[in-house]
């Protein structure tokens, strides 16, 4: 009983052990906060890795491959494949309403099949919503207001089909779905919602116009692409003004800022990858050439979504193997027309993000290692404080020995004291970490607004929000680590206390 009583009495009567508990608190809080943010960052990377690509990608970049419809049919016959969708990936230029040309990655997609394979339908930003976001306490989300000319549902459907009705002709025109940050018009509020800002345009006389543009209603962009000929050389650029059907917000800044989706047929046409007559030179013909068949339309990618859950690291490998088998059959059916099955690139979502995932995994391990090293300070601190306290409490040790306490009993008083400090500091540290991580985004926004400090730059960290989830298993490991560090720090002083001679301890001045 005295082994329990004395540590509690010492803890509440001295400042020094409270300082040790504060050191443990700070260490556990720091380690768990860092682990939660970095671990959450990794989880977000893994979670978002499939948002725009599906589980497996068949890729033949730049030049593309024909008969993709046949490949999609073959893939969708596989019992493990849920759906497949064509895509063209290219770089291009967008002329924006602000007058600023922006280099972007263009992905030509078919809205319907793209939505079946990816999370496209979920990331379209402009859509009907019933209530404000949890953070949007002021209810200032534009989507809660009514539009003048069309409904939010219509805007959402426009996004899904990547088209918008031209009010003059009454016809639906193929268009683009931009990443929410591409246009530079949408400003993000602290509540996490976006609102178009005023655009200023310079006039030739030195004055300027200002207007309030909302891209999905009247926004137009000039798309410029650079088609390649059969030998891979660039030919004349192709430009076209297209309407903006909607904008998406994936939460992954690199996508939201740099990737725009355009309806597949537009991209195919501009890159000369659409179906076209195949001609050969014929001097006998009045035109100098003769049509001998059809060049089938081409795409650079086919995206595949599997039926099971492929979100875990390493899970999508078997699906990639099935896709490779299906492609081999497809290549055999179109000899000489499509890339050889050994050459084609078949990549899982994990392969596509491997550089980033690997870097974050290593960075997480490194940061944890460094902070754990820093946490060793608490071991040394506890050791120093206990060493000093044992000198101060030498006479108490003598008293305990005089009334019959064993050496091990005296040692356990101090080890128990270390455990008490460790448990107290760790519990408070974990609670602090929970509070910080849960509120890390508001705290970060406050730091930015009040002090101009921006720690989490989305241009560096890819995501607009800081991860704010604490894994219970991480908390348990950090808590046990905090308690153990105190216990270890108390061992040497406890051994010293146990070794004291009772008479010399009683006579200690």
């Amino acid at each position: 009983m005295y082994i329990l009583l004395l540590p509690l009495k010492y803890l509440t009567s001295k400042i020094m052990p409270l300082l040790a508990a504060v050191a443990v608190l700070l260490c556990t809080m720091t380690v768990l906060t860092v682990w939660s943010v970095m671990g959450g960052f990794l989880d977000m990377l893994i979670g978002s890795g499939r948002t725009m690509t599906g589980d497996v990608v068949v890729a033949w970049p730049n030049s593309g491959f024909p008969h993709y419809q046949d490949l999609i049919k073959r893939l969708e016959k596989d019992p493990e494949v849920e759906a497949a969708a064509p895509m063209i990936e290219s770089y291009g230029m967008l002329g924006l309403p602000t007058g600023r040309p922006e280099t972007v990655q263009i992905r030509g997609v078919d809205g319907e099949s793209f939505a079946r394979v990816t999370g496209f339908a979920d990331i379209l930003w402009w859509r009907p919503i019933d209530k404000p976001l949890p953070k949007d306490s002021e209810g200032d989300d534009l989507r809660l207001r009514k539009l003048r000319t069309l409904s939010w549902e219509q805007v959402y459907q426009n996004g899904l089909s990547l088209s918008r009705v031209n009010p003059k002709t009454g016809e639906a025109e193929g268009g683009a779905v931009l990443g929410i940050a591409v246009s530079g018009i949408n400003s993000r509020r602290a509540s996490g919602v976006f609102e178009p800002s005023v655009i200023f345009r310079n006039r030739s006389d030195g004055t300027f116009d200002s207007s309030y543009d909302f891209m999905p209603v009247g926004g137009m962009v000039t798309l410029t692409l650079l088609p390649l000929d059969d030998s891979g050389k660039p030919t004349d650029t192709a430009s076209r003004i297209i309407p903006v059907a909607n904008e998406y917000h994936s939460g992954q800044f690199e996508l939201d800022d740099k990737v725009s989706l355009v309806r597949l047929d537009i991209v195919q046409k501009m890159l000369k990858m659409d179906e076209s007559p195949r001609v050969v030179d014929d001097p006998t013909s009045p035109d100098g050439f003769r049509i001998v068949g059809v060049n089938p339309a081409k795409v650079t990618h086919v995206l595949v979504r599997g039926k099971g859950d492929y979100s875990k690291l390493g899970a999508s490998g078997p699906l990639a193997a099935r896709v490779r088998m299906a492609y081999a059959e497809f290549a055999a059916a179109h000899p000489g027309e499509v890339p050889h099955s050994e050459d084609i690139r078949i990549l899982t979502w994990e392969d596509l993000n491997s550089t980033m995932i690997g870097a974050v995994q290593k960075e997480t391990s490194l940061v944890l290692f460094l902070f754990s090293m820093v946490s060793l300070v608490s071991v040394i601190l506890v050791l120093s404080i206990f060493w000093a306290m044992i000198s101060e409490k030498t006479r108490d040790i003598g008293i305990l020995r005089a009334i019959g306490a064993s050496r091990s009993g005296v040692a356990w008083v101090w080890l128990g004291y270390g455990l008490t400090i460790g448990i107290t500091g760790s519990i408070l540290g974990l609670a602090g970490a929970f509070a910080i991580v849960r509120n890390i985004n508001p705290i970060h926004e406050w730091l930015g607004e009040a002090m101009g400090i921006v720690i989490w730059d989305p241009r560096i960290y890819y995501f607009t929000n800081i991860p704010s989830k604490v894994e219970t298993s991480h908390a348990v490991i950090v808590g046990i680590g905090g308690v153990l560090s105190c216990f270890v720090g108390a061992i040497i002083p406890a051994v010293r206390a146990a070794a004291m001679h009772p008479v010399r301890a009683l006579r200690f001045e």
Binding site: L5, L6, I399, A402, I403, L506
Partner: protein
């Protein structure tokens, strides 16, 4: 048979490289229920003798024997010596030696906590009752929740007596119990000790340099330069 039998007891302390003999072959006996005062000047070795009888220290190698109730302390293991100190001996020191973080009641209860180990939990109600009775008898019933720093010297020594007696030891050892108190308070402390002795017939050895204190014992032995005078 004597309760305590000390034969040819020798103890040397080391000061740097020099050995300083403190006890030079002490022979001493104390019968069961007897109260013996060991009277001597400062540095005569009387406290060392008490520490050795109380199992707080060990004599020199081949430095004689201390037999208490038929058991030789010099042959006891460290664990057995701990049990001896906690269960069979009650110590009172000149400077009280109370634990400053504990209350009066806790300072008394710490002794049975050490003695009973895990068994304390089951017996805690009975022990607490006994501690309250002891403190009441010592006139400290109104000071139970006070810390030692809030008590007078006499009150502190009474708490120390309560702690020494709570386990009902067979042997009560007091090292200058009145040495830090004024004469009147010292007399009251001795009265309290004698009252307990009257009730429980404990064997007592009191070390003192004060003739008046020694006079309260059944028998007085004098120690000078580490040797007992008859």
């Amino acid at each position: 048979m004597a309760m305590v039998e000390v034969r040819n007891l020798k103890k040397t302390y080391k000061l740097g490289r020099v050995g300083v003999p403190v006890l030079r072959g002490v022979n001493f006996e104390c019968a069961e229920g007897e109260c013996v005062a060991i009277l001597g000047a400062s540095g005569s070795g009387k406290s060392t003798l008490l520490h050795l009888i109380g199992g707080l220290d060990r004599p020199d190698k081949d430095g004689g024997s201390i037999v208490v109730e038929g058991k030789d302390l010099t042959r006891m293991s460290a664990g057995a010596m701990d049990d001896y100190r906690s269960g069979r001996v009650g110590f009172v020191f000149q400077f009280y030696h109370l634990l400053p973080e504990l209350t009066v009641l806790e300072n008394v209860l710490i002794a049975p906590m050490v003695h009973q180990g895990l068994g304390y939990t089951g017996a805690r109600h009975e022990i607490r009752k006994r501690a309250l009775n002891t403190l009441e008898t010592l006139g400290l019933g109104h000071r139970l929740r006070h810390k030692p720093a809030e008590l007078s010297g006499g009150e502190r020594q009474r708490v120390a007596i309560g702690r020494a007696l709570i386990n009902q030891p067979r042997l009560f050892l007091a090292d200058e119990p009145t040495g830090n108190l004024d004469r009147e308070t010292g007399q009251k402390i001795l009265d309290a000790i004698m009252e307990f002795r009257r009730r429980s017939s404990q064997t007592m050895i009191i070390v003192t340099h004060d003739d008046a204190t020694a006079a309260r014992a059944d028998r007085v032995v004098r120690i000078r330069d580490g040797v007992l005078e008859s």
